[in-house]
């Protein structure tokens, strides 16, 4: 694989990490797979696109996308999921219903055309990386992915909130029994995860473009990432997204029509030996 392909794979992995890290944290702590995560990504992208076109500021677009999607996520957690607490399967199916509604509403607001978020002028053009001419913007996505990983690692391993989240992933009842308001932690995690999906929507919208079925595609990739990486593990999300991103790219080069199939192989292999994923632990 040439360096160019490798960079393509790495930058896609970085985007995937942005989506999957929030997804896996919510899955780990709240024990639910938020199937509306893909729709949140798409809506974040669309909202960011609208702001970026109106104001011309990419930064503002990023903040707006994150805030809007975080709000949606908070509303979903507080407004709907609270009615079906402690019934995990019902929660998951409920988020599936939410995904359908959000996707359809996005179709109403933004129509069925495909959009590409405008890239700020500072990130346009290409640079030379070890002799390969490569688009600046995609390297920027890689940088953001690494920064978000560092931020989340710091948050989880060096702060009180992070300690509570990690404790909650391992044993919710024990955290509650020590007098912690776990509901607030749930909400914080959900909002944080949603904000990451919104950010990813904007970042991805600038190089993958946004269209009505983009949410289902990104959701499949995040599902594969979490299945490979394991529930609730930040390292798992990182390793999983690297594997899925690189394999997908590799697949697209070798078998353009069956690229989807290439992420299926390793997932199958892994499941045969570690049904809980690389970094997954039993709850």
């Amino acid at each position: 694989m040439s360096l160019f392909q490798l960079l393509n794979g790495l930058t896609f992995s970085a985007l995937l990490f942005l989506v999957a890290s929030g997804f896996t944290l919510i899955f780990g702590l709240l024990r639910i797979v938020n199937l509306a995560h893909g729709a949140l990504y798409l809506i974040g992208g669309y909202a960011g696109y609208t702001i970026a076109v109106k104001t011309g500021s990419f930064l503002l677009a990023g903040l707006a996308a994150m805030a809007f999607v975080a709000l949606l996520g908070g509303a979903l957690e507080q407004g709907l999921l609270r009615f079906v607490r402690a019934a995990e399967l019902r929660q998951v199916l409920l988020t599936l219903g939410v995904a359908f509604v959000l996707n359809d509403m996005a179709l109403v607001v933004w129509g069925g055309d495909s959009f590409t978020v405008p890239i700020p002028s500072a990130l346009q053009g290409a640079v030379s990386v070890a002799g390969v001419i490569y688009p600046k913007y995609r390297l920027f996505v890689l940088l953001v992915g690494v920064l978000v990983f560092m931020f989340l690692w710091f948050l989880l391993n060096r702060t009180r909130l992070g300690a509570l989240i990690r404790a909650g992933v391992d044993d919710v009842e024990m955290v509650e029994a020590s007098g912690i308001n776990i509901r607030r932690i749930f909400l914080t995690t959900f909002v944080l995860g949603s904000a990451l999906a919104g950010l990813a929507g904007l970042m991805g919208g600038a190089f993958l473009s946004l269209y009505p079925s983009a949410d289902a595609e990104i959701l499949t990739f995040s599902l594969a990432t979490v299945v490979i990486g394991g529930r609730g593990s930040l390292e798992g999300a990182a390793v999983g997204s690297l594997l899925v991103g690189l394999l997908n790219n590799f697949g697209q080069v070798l078998f353009p029509e069956l690229a989807y199939f290439v992420i299926f192989g390793p997932m199958a292999l892994l499941l045969a030996f570690r049904p809980l994923g690389l970094f997954g632990r039993t709850a």
């Binding site: 399967l89 219903g97 359809d104 289902a216 029509e257 299926f264």
Partner: protein, 322 residues
């Protein structure tokens, strides 16, 4: 993920054989009389209800009896539809061969999915089957040379003697009646009982000496076979297949039908299919926002009536009577 079975906390009435036969005869009587009572459009709608009730029942074998809620049966169903249409219109096989190939393909896909998914349960199972189903969708969308991509495959494959709405309806009614009885025998057989045992306590079944993985594998594959038969019937009904037939929406609608009718009741699939397809048709005459209505229906049922609309009605009636 805990190993404890996580099912949609449903009441699971055990259908006694006598009741089952009465229900079947009643349904058959209504089914036989339907074309005499309503116009052609509703006959075609009835055909669709029958086909999707088979899909819903095949999902119920997993969701209701084995306690593993799958989200890939729409894809398994659609694989059969694709294979039948491809076999007849592209490869030029005789219809019967194509149907056999379609059902075999769906069963094989189900067997592969089963191998990957049966070791998991609860949310993990749902997630994994969802991802597997999405892969089928991705392949159907992208593998343009074989599947025709977004354009799908079209072909008037229905044989002449089934050409009209009414003859085809009766053929599907016959198929559905036979398959429903087969599925019913399947879930009430000792094997079906072992699936129920796994649903209620996998650990206990293991210590009783059952190879639970093998039972789940066979149960999943059989349910895929039934979904495949329904998919082949759909190929004849629709004469067209596109990625939307294997999309997540299809799996979700099928599961919703099973849930509306009440999981673990098998017959509920017919009522669920009728309810959802009628709703879809009524909604579609007023608005294009069917996905929103579908999503809202899902949300409301999950919050207010996870045991299914019928189960809810029964519970409310019982409370009212007491």
């Amino acid at each position: 993920m805990s190993g404890a079975p996580m099912k949609i906390d449903a009441q699971l009435p055990t259908a006694s054989p006598a009741n089952g036969w009465i229900v079947l005869l009643g349904v058959l009587a209504v089914g036989l009389a339907l074309p005499a009572l309503v116009s052609g459009y509703y006959v075609s709608l009835g055909t669709q209800v029958l086909i999707f009730s088979l899909l819903a029942m095949s999902i119920d074998i997993m969701a209701g009896y084995a306690g593993r809620t799958p989200l890939c049966h729409g894809a398994i169903f659609g694989v059969s539809t694709y294979a039948v249409l491809y076999g007849v219109s592209v490869a030029g096989f005789p219809l019967v061969t194509a149907i056999a190939l379609g059902i075999a393909a769906a069963t094989c896909v189900a067997a592969i999915f089963a191998l990957l998914a049966i070791r998991t349960s609860g949310v993990y199972f749902l997630l994994l089957t969802l991802a597997l189903g999405m892969i089928i969708w991705g392949i159907c969308l992208r593998w343009t040379r074989v599947t025709g991509g977004e354009n799908g495959i079209r072909g008037d494959i229905r044989p002449a003697f089934l050409g009209g709405n009414v003859p085809f309806y009766y053929a599907v009614l016959g198929l559905a009646a036979v398959l429903a009885v087969v599925m019913w025998r399947f879930v009430s057989s000792p094997f079906g009982m072992s699936l129920k045992g796994i649903r209620d306590s996998e650990g206990r079944m293991q210590s009783l000496g059952y190879n639970t993985n093998l039972h789940l594998f066979l149960g999943f594959t059989m349910s895929g076979f039934f979904a495949g038969v329904a998919g082949a019937a759909y190929a004849l009904f629709n004469n067209f297949v596109s990625p939307s037939t294997v999309a997540l929406t299809q799996s979700v609608e099928g599961l919703l039908m099973a849930i509306v009718g009440g999981v673990g009741t098998l017959w509920g699939g017919l009522i669920g299919a009728a309810a959802i397809i009628l709703l879809e048709n009524i909604v579609s005459t007023y608005t294009e926002r069917w996905p929103t209505v579908l999503g809202l229906t899902f949300i409301f049922i999950m919050i207010f009536a996870p045991e299914g609309v019928l189960g809810k009605l029964r519970a409310v009636l019982t409370r009212f009577r007491n």
